[in-house]
């Protein structure tokens, strides 16, 4: 048996290799490169080993931002996923209102991130913003630029407003894919609405919900623009999430080594948690 050799095949693969190299491999390796070196002016580099990784892992500042990031991500997941499912359940499944509802739902998703941040910043200003002014007029002492609690409230509300639609649309897609026969069978079997949700709708939505959780997890864990425009990480450091902190270190202080090390750790955390989510949600699929 002779194996046909055809070196021309490489030519066909080349464009993809180049694309992947320039958009993923080379940038990532640059970061790896920075993370193990000390940088001085004039582009002089010295080998630093794992010092930056040790520094980052032992740094209180990193722990604090990571903690805030976790609180933020899990809060918005805990709100957006159930809320999204709930809204999807109430959307009409047939009729002229379907496209209207879907377009209205999709609107927040179409707004650029920095515009969302700017909108909410103005919306929440205590002296002129509708939300800020309104809350104060109702007797709440609300000022998101001074009180950390208020800043968090605004930040989470903004994210819920911006991204719940995504969960709604995904859950809705799962819901409409359920054939009528399932609902009819459940009716005949005498199932109450909770049983229908628990045994028909939820299982059928499982795959899309897994995707929704993963997308929302990864996106919210990397969130930068909106909190940066809304609060800039303040007041103090109270809303400084991981990416905001990372940019402060990398571009504000120009500490390339620590910033690179932090990026890699950040990346590994996202990878690890995504894997955990996926495994947990899919563990019953196999059998």
């Amino acid at each position: 048996m002779n194996k046909t050799e055809n070196q021309k095949a490489w030519l066909f693969v080349l464009p993809v290799v180049l694309l992947v190299a320039f958009n993923a491999v080379i940038p990532l390796m640059t970061v790896v490169n920075y993370s193990v070196q000390e940088t001085f002016g004039d582009n002089t580099f010295f080998w630093a080993g794992v010092i930056w990784f040790q520094d980052v892992l032992n740094s209180d500042r990193f722990h604090a931002s990571l903690g805030r990031q976790m609180i933020f991500t899990f809060s918005i997941l805990a709100i957006e996923i159930p809320l999204g499912v709930l809204i999807a359940l109430t959307l009409p499944r047939k009729g002229p209102w379907v496209p209207v509802c879907l377009v209205l739902m999709a609107l927040p998703l179409l707004i650029p991130y920095n515009v969302v941040g700017a909108m909410w910043n103005i919306f929440a200003l205590p002296d002129i913003g509708l939300l800020g002014y309104g809350l104060n007029a109702l007797g709440f002492d609300y000022n998101f630029t001074r009180q950390p609690g208020d800043a968090w409230f605004t930040l989470i509300l903004m994210d819920v407003w911006h991204w719940t639609s995504l969960v709604v649309l995904l859950a809705y897609a799962g819901l409409v894919s359920i054939p009528d026969a399932y609902y009819q069978a459940a009716k005949i079997d005498g199932a109450k609405s909770f049983a229908i949700f628990r045994y028909i709708q939820l299982p059928k939505m499982k795959r899309v919900l897994t995707i929704a959780v993963l997308l929302r997890f990864m996106d919210s864990f990397m969130i930068y623009t909106e909190p940066f425009v809304l609060t800039g990480g303040g007041p103090g450091n109270s809303t400084t999430l991981l990416s905001v902190d990372l940019v402060k270190i990398a571009l504000g202080q120009f500490d390339l080594g620590p910033a690179a090390a932090m990026s890699l750790i950040y990346f590994l955390i996202i990878l690890l948690l995504s894997w955990v989510f996926y495994t947990l949600m899919m563990r019953n699929e196999a059998n």
């Binding site: 026969a181 399932y182 009819q184 009716k187 005949i188 005498g190 109450k192 045994y199």
Partner: protein
């Protein structure tokens, strides 16, 4: 258990039906005896699923009544009618085990757990699912899932009727036979009224004691498989049931005798005809044979169907098919056909003359 009566039933999916064409289901009066095995047979879009959904309560008819026993259930929802239904595509609760699937309708009705266990095991035995009781329902094959659907109906003791909406559509051909005979066997055992909707004549004729043939929202004939075969009330029934279907040809009746292309044909009901137009003659290929005299035709095509051959003969653009048993002789070119008098009937506007 109860007798099911459909009285003056009509249904339209349009909110304001004006003419007959707006109705998916035309005027319908049918009695279904308690414990019978019925089949609803008809081509796609003839209204059989509509009728099924009306009986099950998934649909409320525009006019008429659905009566179970002596109780009018027209306005009752499905769960209060005590019915069960097996759908075209298997419906199982994926996350549950087979056992929980079968127990589901009982648990929803608050039946004590000991009773549930007893019933589930009994029914699982009946439908051969005992070995897989603890497996997840999603892992079963299509025929296993259909058995679960059926089982969910059988576990309940209050079921008036079990309905099947083309349940074998997604089953592999070699399993269809098995499942069909299983169904027949189960019916004889539990004696619950069963209504089986299908467009497949073999399924209908083998399953049912009585077949209801539908066309364009109308019931054209209700009868035993033999009646449908020997005395089709409508040319549609003759055509739809049987393979190949009944020969239908234009004819004239003069003085109580039927003529086809000026050849006299002896027909058992020709004497009852007085009018001479819009008449058709129907005879099944099984009751046509070659003879020394009769209708002159030309043999056009012979196809071998195993135990017999289907001969297609022509005269002009009119075709008449007949079956010739194995070993029978088939003339070439010109020939004469003879029809069995007892099975040759005259139809007017499609309906049998009587």
């Amino acid at each position: 258990m109860a007798k099911i009566t459909l009285k003056g039933l009509r249904h339209s999916y349009k909110p304001d039906p004006q003419e007959d064409a707006d109705y998916a289901l035309q005027q319908l009066d049918v009695d279904w005896e308690d414990g019978g095995a019925y089949a609803l047979l008809g081509p796609s879009g003839c209204g059989k699923t509509t009728l099924l959904n009306i009986i099950s309560g998934l649909l409320t008819p525009s006019h008429g009544q659905v009566i179970f026993g002596d109780k009018d259930v027209t306005q009752l929802p499905p769960d209060q009618r005590h019915i069960a239904q097996v759908f075209q595509f298997p419906v199982v609760y994926d996350t549950m085990t087979v056992y929980d699937n079968l127990a589901f309708p009982l648990r929803n009705r608050g039946v004590p757990e000991a009773e549930v266990d007893k019933r589930v095991r009994e029914i699982a035995e009946m439908i051969d699912l005992t070995a897989t009781l603890d497996n997840r329902a999603s892992g079963l094959t299509a025929d296993g899932k259909q058995k679960i659907s059926l089982g969910r109906g059988l576990v309940r003791t209050d079921v008036n009727v079990i309905m099947f909406d083309e349940p074998l559509t997604v089953i592999d051909p070699h399993l269809k036979w098995q499942l069909r005979s299983k169904l027949k066997e189960l019916h004889q055992r539990v004696r619950t009224t069963m209504i089986y909707v299908t467009h497949d004549q073999t399924e209908a004729l083998t399953f049912a004691d009585k077949v209801v043939v539908m066309k364009d929202g109308q019931v054209v004939q209700i009868g035993t498989p033999v009646e449908l075969f020997e005395r089709p009330q409508h040319t549609f029934v003759g055509h739809f049931i049987g393979s190949p279907g009944m020969n239908v040809m234009p004819c004239e009746v003069r003085g109580g005798k039927a003529f086809y292309q000026d050849t006299e044909i002896s027909s058992w009901n020709a004497a009852s005809c007085t009018d001479a137009s819009d008449l058709e003659l129907g005879v099944r290929p099984e009751f046509v044979e070659f003879g020394p005299t009769g209708v002159p035709v030309e043999v056009a095509k012979v196809s071998d169907a195993g135990r017999f051959r289907i001969v297609d003969t022509r005269k002009g653009d009119q075709s008449i098919k007949l079956l010739v048993p194995e070993g029978g002789e088939i003339p070439e070119g010109n020939a004469f056909l003879q029809f069995a008098q007892d099975h040759t009937q005259v139809y007017r506007d499609g309906w049998l003359m009587s």
